[in-house]
Protein backbone atom coordinates (compact mmCIF):
# COMPACT_ATOMS: atom_id res chain seq x y z
CA UNK A 1 0.00 0.00 0.00
CA UNK A 2 1.73 3.20 -1.09
CA UNK A 3 1.83 5.89 1.51
CA UNK A 4 2.67 9.19 -0.16
CA UNK A 5 3.67 12.04 2.09
CA UNK A 6 0.70 14.32 2.47
CA UNK A 7 2.60 17.41 3.42
CA UNK A 8 6.00 18.40 2.13
CA UNK A 9 8.80 18.03 4.61
CA UNK A 10 10.21 21.15 6.19
CA UNK A 11 13.88 21.18 7.09
CA UNK A 12 13.17 22.54 10.58
CA UNK A 13 11.14 19.40 11.46
CA UNK A 14 13.91 17.09 10.33
CA UNK A 15 17.00 15.60 11.85
CA UNK A 16 20.25 15.41 9.92
CA UNK A 17 21.97 12.10 10.69
CA UNK A 18 25.68 11.82 9.99
CA UNK A 19 27.36 8.46 10.66
CA UNK A 20 31.03 9.02 11.39
CA UNK A 21 33.97 6.72 11.97
CA UNK A 22 37.32 8.42 12.48
CA UNK A 23 36.21 11.52 10.60
CA UNK A 24 37.40 14.16 13.06
CA UNK A 25 39.17 16.03 10.25
CA UNK A 26 35.96 16.75 8.34
CA UNK A 27 32.93 16.17 10.55
CA UNK A 28 33.08 19.61 12.18
CA UNK A 29 32.84 21.43 8.86
CA UNK A 30 30.06 19.10 7.69
CA UNK A 31 28.00 19.75 10.84
CA UNK A 32 28.49 23.51 10.56
CA UNK A 33 27.61 23.41 6.84
CA UNK A 34 24.38 21.46 7.43
CA UNK A 35 23.32 23.74 10.28
CA UNK A 36 23.87 26.76 8.10
CA UNK A 37 22.16 25.32 5.02
CA UNK A 38 19.11 23.78 6.69
CA UNK A 39 18.96 25.17 10.22
CA UNK A 40 17.83 21.77 11.50
CA UNK A 41 19.05 19.64 14.38
CA UNK A 42 22.14 17.60 13.55
CA UNK A 43 22.97 14.22 15.05
CA UNK A 44 26.38 12.68 14.55
CA UNK A 45 26.47 8.95 15.26
CA UNK A 46 29.97 8.06 16.33
CA UNK A 47 30.57 4.52 15.07
CA UNK A 48 33.13 3.64 17.75
CA UNK A 49 35.75 6.04 16.41
CA UNK A 50 39.24 5.93 17.79
CA UNK A 51 39.70 9.67 17.26
CA UNK A 52 37.67 12.51 18.79
CA UNK A 53 35.03 12.74 16.04
CA UNK A 54 32.25 13.02 18.62
CA UNK A 55 33.90 15.88 20.53
CA UNK A 56 34.55 17.77 17.28
CA UNK A 57 30.93 17.27 16.24
CA UNK A 58 29.63 18.48 19.61
CA UNK A 59 31.85 21.55 19.40
CA UNK A 60 30.30 22.30 15.99
CA UNK A 61 26.83 22.19 17.53
CA UNK A 62 25.69 18.64 16.87
CA UNK A 63 24.12 16.13 19.21
CA UNK A 64 26.02 12.89 19.31
CA UNK A 65 25.35 9.21 19.84
CA UNK A 66 28.27 7.01 20.74
CA UNK A 67 28.00 3.35 19.71
CA UNK A 68 29.84 1.03 22.08
CA UNK A 69 31.29 -0.92 19.19
CA UNK A 70 31.34 -0.45 15.45
CA UNK A 71 28.11 -1.36 13.64
CA UNK A 72 29.17 -0.05 10.23
CA UNK A 73 27.76 2.90 8.32
CA UNK A 74 24.25 1.50 8.10
CA UNK A 75 24.12 0.38 11.76
CA UNK A 76 25.15 3.89 12.78
CA UNK A 77 22.62 5.47 10.44
CA UNK A 78 19.87 3.24 11.78
CA UNK A 79 20.74 4.30 15.31
CA UNK A 80 20.17 7.89 14.18
CA UNK A 81 16.90 6.95 12.49
CA UNK A 82 15.69 5.23 15.66
CA UNK A 83 16.67 8.34 17.61
CA UNK A 84 14.64 10.46 15.18
CA UNK A 85 11.65 8.15 15.53
CA UNK A 86 11.88 8.20 19.31
CA UNK A 87 12.03 11.99 19.34
CA UNK A 88 9.21 12.38 16.80
CA UNK A 89 11.13 14.08 14.01
CA UNK A 90 9.11 14.18 10.79
CA UNK A 91 12.01 13.44 8.53
CA UNK A 92 15.62 12.35 8.45
CA UNK A 93 18.29 13.55 6.07
CA UNK A 94 21.43 11.41 6.00
CA UNK A 95 24.79 12.40 4.64
CA UNK A 96 28.39 11.25 4.83
CA UNK A 97 30.82 12.73 7.32
CA UNK A 98 33.68 12.91 4.85
CA UNK A 99 32.53 16.17 3.31
CA UNK A 100 31.69 14.91 -0.17
CA UNK A 101 28.13 16.20 -0.01
CA UNK A 102 27.91 19.92 -0.43
CA UNK A 103 25.66 21.43 2.28
CA UNK A 104 24.37 24.04 -0.18
CA UNK A 105 22.78 21.26 -2.26
CA UNK A 106 20.76 19.87 0.66
CA UNK A 107 17.68 22.10 0.11
CA UNK A 108 17.41 20.56 -3.37
CA UNK A 109 16.37 17.29 -1.73
CA UNK A 110 13.51 19.03 0.05
CA UNK A 111 12.46 20.65 -3.25
CA UNK A 112 12.47 17.26 -4.94
CA UNK A 113 10.42 15.80 -2.10
CA UNK A 114 7.88 18.62 -2.47
CA UNK A 115 7.55 18.04 -6.22
CA UNK A 116 7.48 14.26 -6.25
CA UNK A 117 5.81 13.60 -2.88
CA UNK A 118 8.14 10.64 -2.59
CA UNK A 119 8.84 8.98 0.76
CA UNK A 120 12.52 8.80 -0.01
CA UNK A 121 14.65 11.20 -2.03
CA UNK A 122 18.14 10.10 -3.01
CA UNK A 123 20.78 12.65 -3.91
CA UNK A 124 22.76 11.34 -6.86
CA UNK A 125 25.70 12.72 -8.73
CA UNK A 126 25.08 11.28 -12.20
CA UNK A 127 28.20 12.70 -13.76
CA UNK A 128 30.70 11.36 -11.30
CA UNK A 129 29.80 7.69 -11.47
CA UNK A 130 32.85 5.70 -12.48
CA UNK A 131 32.72 3.01 -15.15
CA UNK A 132 32.92 0.25 -12.53
CA UNK A 133 30.03 1.80 -10.64
CA UNK A 134 27.94 2.14 -13.80
CA UNK A 135 28.40 -1.56 -14.56
CA UNK A 136 27.65 -2.50 -10.95
CA UNK A 137 24.50 -0.37 -10.83
CA UNK A 138 23.27 -1.70 -14.16
CA UNK A 139 23.64 -5.21 -12.79
CA UNK A 140 21.83 -4.32 -9.56
CA UNK A 141 19.07 -2.52 -11.46
CA UNK A 142 18.45 -5.66 -13.48
CA UNK A 143 18.56 -7.86 -10.41
CA UNK A 144 16.35 -5.79 -8.13
CA UNK A 145 14.00 -4.15 -10.61
CA UNK A 146 14.53 -0.85 -8.77
CA UNK A 147 14.66 2.05 -11.18
CA UNK A 148 17.51 3.98 -9.59
CA UNK A 149 20.80 5.34 -10.86
CA UNK A 150 22.95 5.23 -7.74
CA UNK A 151 22.44 2.56 -5.11
CA UNK A 152 25.02 3.59 -2.54
CA UNK A 153 24.58 7.34 -2.27
CA UNK A 154 24.61 8.24 1.41
CA UNK A 155 22.73 11.46 0.75
CA UNK A 156 19.07 10.71 1.35
CA UNK A 157 15.92 12.27 2.70
CA UNK A 158 13.45 9.98 4.45
CA UNK A 159 9.95 10.96 5.54
CA UNK A 160 8.18 9.66 8.65
CA UNK A 161 6.79 6.58 6.86
CA UNK A 162 10.24 5.60 5.64
CA UNK A 163 11.62 6.20 9.14
CA UNK A 164 9.07 3.75 10.56
CA UNK A 165 10.14 1.10 8.04
CA UNK A 166 13.87 1.60 8.55
CA UNK A 167 13.76 1.82 12.34
CA UNK A 168 12.33 -1.71 12.56
CA UNK A 169 14.19 -4.92 13.33
CA UNK A 170 14.03 -6.13 9.74
CA UNK A 171 16.55 -3.46 8.75
CA UNK A 172 18.95 -4.27 11.59
CA UNK A 173 20.80 -7.15 9.96
CA UNK A 174 21.60 -5.20 6.79
CA UNK A 175 25.27 -4.38 6.40
CA UNK A 176 25.18 -1.64 3.80
CA UNK A 177 22.92 1.34 3.33
CA UNK A 178 22.02 0.38 -0.20
CA UNK A 179 20.24 -2.42 -1.99
CA UNK A 180 18.94 -4.12 1.14
CA UNK A 181 17.62 -0.85 2.52
CA UNK A 182 16.12 0.20 -0.82
CA UNK A 183 14.46 -3.17 -1.36
CA UNK A 184 13.01 -3.07 2.14
CA UNK A 185 11.59 0.38 1.41
CA UNK A 186 10.19 -0.75 -1.95
CA UNK A 187 8.65 -3.84 -0.37
CA UNK A 188 6.81 -1.62 2.08
CA UNK A 189 5.39 0.52 -0.68
CA UNK A 190 7.66 3.52 -0.19
CA UNK A 191 8.02 5.74 -3.25
CA UNK A 192 11.54 6.76 -4.15
CA UNK A 193 12.84 9.62 -6.21
CA UNK A 194 16.28 10.71 -7.25
CA UNK A 195 17.59 14.20 -7.65
CA UNK A 196 20.87 15.33 -9.06
CA UNK A 197 23.28 17.01 -6.66
CA UNK A 198 26.87 18.08 -7.13
CA UNK A 199 29.42 16.11 -5.13
CA UNK A 200 32.84 17.10 -3.98
CA UNK A 201 35.77 14.73 -4.00
CA UNK A 202 36.32 13.12 -0.62
CA UNK A 203 38.69 15.18 1.46
CA UNK A 204 39.95 12.22 3.44
CA UNK A 205 39.18 8.55 3.70
CA UNK A 206 37.73 6.40 0.98
CA UNK A 207 34.54 4.65 -0.03
CA UNK A 208 33.78 1.76 2.25
CA UNK A 209 32.24 -0.20 -0.58
CA UNK A 210 34.59 0.66 -3.43
CA UNK A 211 37.81 0.31 -1.47
CA UNK A 212 39.50 -2.48 -3.41
CA UNK A 213 38.60 -5.25 -5.81
CA UNK A 214 38.28 -8.04 -3.21
CA UNK A 215 35.99 -5.78 -1.17
CA UNK A 216 33.91 -5.00 -4.26
CA UNK A 217 33.72 -8.69 -5.13
CA UNK A 218 32.58 -9.55 -1.62
CA UNK A 219 30.07 -6.74 -1.74
CA UNK A 220 28.63 -7.90 -5.08
CA UNK A 221 28.33 -11.53 -3.93
CA UNK A 222 26.76 -10.43 -0.65
CA UNK A 223 24.30 -8.18 -2.46
CA UNK A 224 23.44 -10.79 -5.07
CA UNK A 225 22.60 -13.34 -2.38
CA UNK A 226 20.49 -10.71 -0.61
CA UNK A 227 18.62 -9.89 -3.82
CA UNK A 228 17.99 -13.51 -4.74
CA UNK A 229 16.83 -14.30 -1.20
CA UNK A 230 14.50 -11.30 -1.18
CA UNK A 231 12.87 -11.97 -4.52
CA UNK A 232 9.64 -13.23 -2.97
CA UNK A 233 10.08 -11.93 0.56
CA UNK A 234 6.62 -11.67 2.04
CA UNK A 235 5.20 -9.49 4.72
CA UNK A 236 4.60 -12.54 6.86
CA UNK A 237 8.29 -12.67 7.79
CA UNK A 238 8.32 -8.96 8.45
CA UNK A 239 5.50 -9.34 10.94
CA UNK A 240 7.14 -12.24 12.75
CA UNK A 241 10.36 -10.28 13.10
CA UNK A 242 8.58 -7.23 14.44
CA UNK A 243 7.05 -9.31 17.18
CA UNK A 244 10.23 -11.14 17.99
CA UNK A 245 12.53 -8.15 18.31
CA UNK A 246 10.03 -5.52 19.37
CA UNK A 247 11.48 -5.49 22.86
CA UNK A 248 15.01 -4.52 21.82
Amino acid sequence: MPVPSRQPLVAADCLAVIPARDEAATVGAVVAGVREALGCAVLVVDDASSDDSAAVARAAGAQTLRLSFGLGAWGATQAGIRYAQRNAYRGVITLDADGQHEPASLPALFDAQRHTQANVVIGTCFGRLSRAKRIAWHYLRTLTGLDLTDFTSGLRLYDANAIDVLAGPEASLLDYQDVGVLMLLAKNGMRMAETEVPMLPRRTGHSRVFASWPVVARYMVHTTVLCVAQIDAGRRRHKALQEEAAAC
Binding site: Q63, L65, R66, S68, F69, P169, S172, L173, A245, C248
Partner: protein, 125 residues
Protein backbone atom coordinates in the same frame (compact mmCIF):
# COMPACT_ATOMS: atom_id res chain seq x y z
CA UNK B 1 43.31 -56.85 22.23
CA UNK B 2 39.94 -55.21 22.25
CA UNK B 3 37.04 -56.42 20.21
CA UNK B 4 35.18 -53.91 18.07
CA UNK B 5 32.21 -54.14 20.39
CA UNK B 6 34.24 -53.19 23.47
CA UNK B 7 35.88 -50.28 21.64
CA UNK B 8 32.57 -48.84 20.48
CA UNK B 9 31.08 -49.40 23.93
CA UNK B 10 33.95 -47.50 25.57
CA UNK B 11 33.59 -44.62 23.09
CA UNK B 12 29.83 -44.51 23.59
CA UNK B 13 30.01 -44.56 27.37
CA UNK B 14 32.81 -41.96 27.45
CA UNK B 15 30.95 -39.56 25.16
CA UNK B 16 27.71 -40.07 27.07
CA UNK B 17 29.52 -39.46 30.36
CA UNK B 18 31.17 -36.28 29.06
CA UNK B 19 27.87 -34.86 27.77
CA UNK B 20 25.99 -35.71 30.95
CA UNK B 21 28.76 -34.10 32.98
CA UNK B 22 28.56 -30.89 30.91
CA UNK B 23 24.78 -30.77 31.17
CA UNK B 24 24.89 -31.34 34.93
CA UNK B 25 27.48 -28.61 35.31
CA UNK B 26 25.18 -26.19 33.43
CA UNK B 27 27.64 -25.64 30.60
CA UNK B 28 24.90 -26.55 28.12
CA UNK B 29 21.56 -24.99 28.72
CA UNK B 30 17.93 -25.48 27.76
CA UNK B 31 17.30 -26.80 24.24
CA UNK B 32 21.00 -27.58 23.73
CA UNK B 33 20.96 -29.88 26.74
CA UNK B 34 17.99 -31.79 25.31
CA UNK B 35 19.72 -32.15 21.92
CA UNK B 36 22.93 -33.40 23.48
CA UNK B 37 21.06 -35.73 25.81
CA UNK B 38 19.62 -37.33 22.68
CA UNK B 39 23.08 -37.62 21.13
CA UNK B 40 24.44 -39.13 24.34
CA UNK B 41 21.64 -41.69 24.50
CA UNK B 42 22.07 -42.69 20.84
CA UNK B 43 25.84 -43.03 21.21
CA UNK B 44 25.42 -45.12 24.31
CA UNK B 45 22.86 -47.49 22.78
CA UNK B 46 24.77 -47.91 19.48
CA UNK B 47 28.08 -48.27 21.32
CA UNK B 48 26.87 -51.00 23.64
CA UNK B 49 24.70 -52.78 21.04
CA UNK B 50 26.54 -52.45 17.68
CA UNK B 51 24.32 -55.24 16.37
CA UNK B 52 21.58 -52.60 16.12
CA UNK B 53 23.48 -50.96 13.28
CA UNK B 54 23.47 -54.14 11.22
CA UNK B 55 19.78 -54.61 11.89
CA UNK B 56 19.08 -50.97 10.97
CA UNK B 57 21.11 -51.36 7.78
CA UNK B 58 18.99 -54.33 6.75
CA UNK B 59 15.81 -52.54 7.65
CA UNK B 60 16.69 -49.44 5.60
CA UNK B 61 18.16 -51.40 2.69
CA UNK B 62 21.66 -49.98 3.06
CA UNK B 63 24.08 -52.64 1.83
CA UNK B 64 27.11 -51.52 3.86
CA UNK B 65 25.49 -51.05 7.26
CA UNK B 66 28.41 -49.39 9.13
CA UNK B 67 28.09 -46.32 6.90
CA UNK B 68 24.57 -45.72 8.24
CA UNK B 69 25.55 -44.10 11.58
CA UNK B 70 28.02 -41.91 9.70
CA UNK B 71 25.34 -40.66 7.30
CA UNK B 72 22.92 -40.02 10.13
CA UNK B 73 25.64 -38.39 12.21
CA UNK B 74 26.70 -36.05 9.40
CA UNK B 75 23.11 -35.05 8.68
CA UNK B 76 22.55 -34.24 12.32
CA UNK B 77 25.75 -32.19 12.44
CA UNK B 78 24.58 -30.22 9.40
CA UNK B 79 21.19 -29.56 10.98
CA UNK B 80 22.89 -28.51 14.19
CA UNK B 81 25.21 -26.11 12.32
CA UNK B 82 22.28 -24.59 10.46
CA UNK B 83 20.42 -24.04 13.70
CA UNK B 84 23.55 -22.51 15.20
CA UNK B 85 23.79 -19.94 12.39
CA UNK B 86 20.10 -19.13 12.69
CA UNK B 87 20.54 -18.52 16.40
CA UNK B 88 23.63 -16.44 15.77
CA UNK B 89 21.79 -14.23 13.28
CA UNK B 90 19.01 -13.71 15.78
CA UNK B 91 21.52 -12.77 18.46
CA UNK B 92 23.40 -10.48 16.09
CA UNK B 93 20.18 -8.61 15.36
CA UNK B 94 19.45 -8.23 19.05
CA UNK B 95 23.00 -7.12 19.86
CA UNK B 96 22.91 -4.47 17.14
CA UNK B 97 19.57 -3.13 18.30
CA UNK B 98 20.61 -3.12 21.93
CA UNK B 99 23.83 -1.28 21.02
CA UNK B 100 21.79 1.36 19.23
CA UNK B 101 19.34 1.65 22.08
CA UNK B 102 22.17 1.88 24.59
CA UNK B 103 23.67 4.80 22.65
CA UNK B 104 20.29 6.56 22.49
CA UNK B 105 19.62 6.08 26.21
CA UNK B 106 23.14 7.22 27.09
CA UNK B 107 22.57 10.38 25.09
CA UNK B 108 19.28 10.97 26.92
CA UNK B 109 20.98 10.47 30.27
CA UNK B 110 23.59 13.06 29.37
CA UNK B 111 20.91 15.46 28.16
CA UNK B 112 18.84 15.05 31.34
CA UNK B 113 21.87 15.23 33.59
CA UNK B 114 23.04 18.42 31.94
CA UNK B 115 26.69 17.44 31.94
CA UNK B 116 28.60 15.50 29.35
CA UNK B 117 30.21 13.34 32.02
CA UNK B 118 33.02 10.94 31.27
CA UNK B 119 33.23 9.50 27.77
CA UNK B 120 31.40 6.18 27.66
CA UNK B 121 33.90 3.37 27.67
CA UNK B 122 34.16 0.93 24.78
CA UNK B 123 32.85 -2.53 25.53
CA UNK B 124 34.69 -4.24 22.74
CA UNK B 125 37.44 -6.42 24.10
Amino acid sequence: MLTGQITSAILGVALTGAILFLVRRDHLHGPYAIWWFGVAAATFVLGVFPGLVVWLGHATGIFYAPILPIIIGLSLVLIRLLKLDIDRSKQERRIRRLTQKLAILEQELVRLGGSTGPEPADDEA
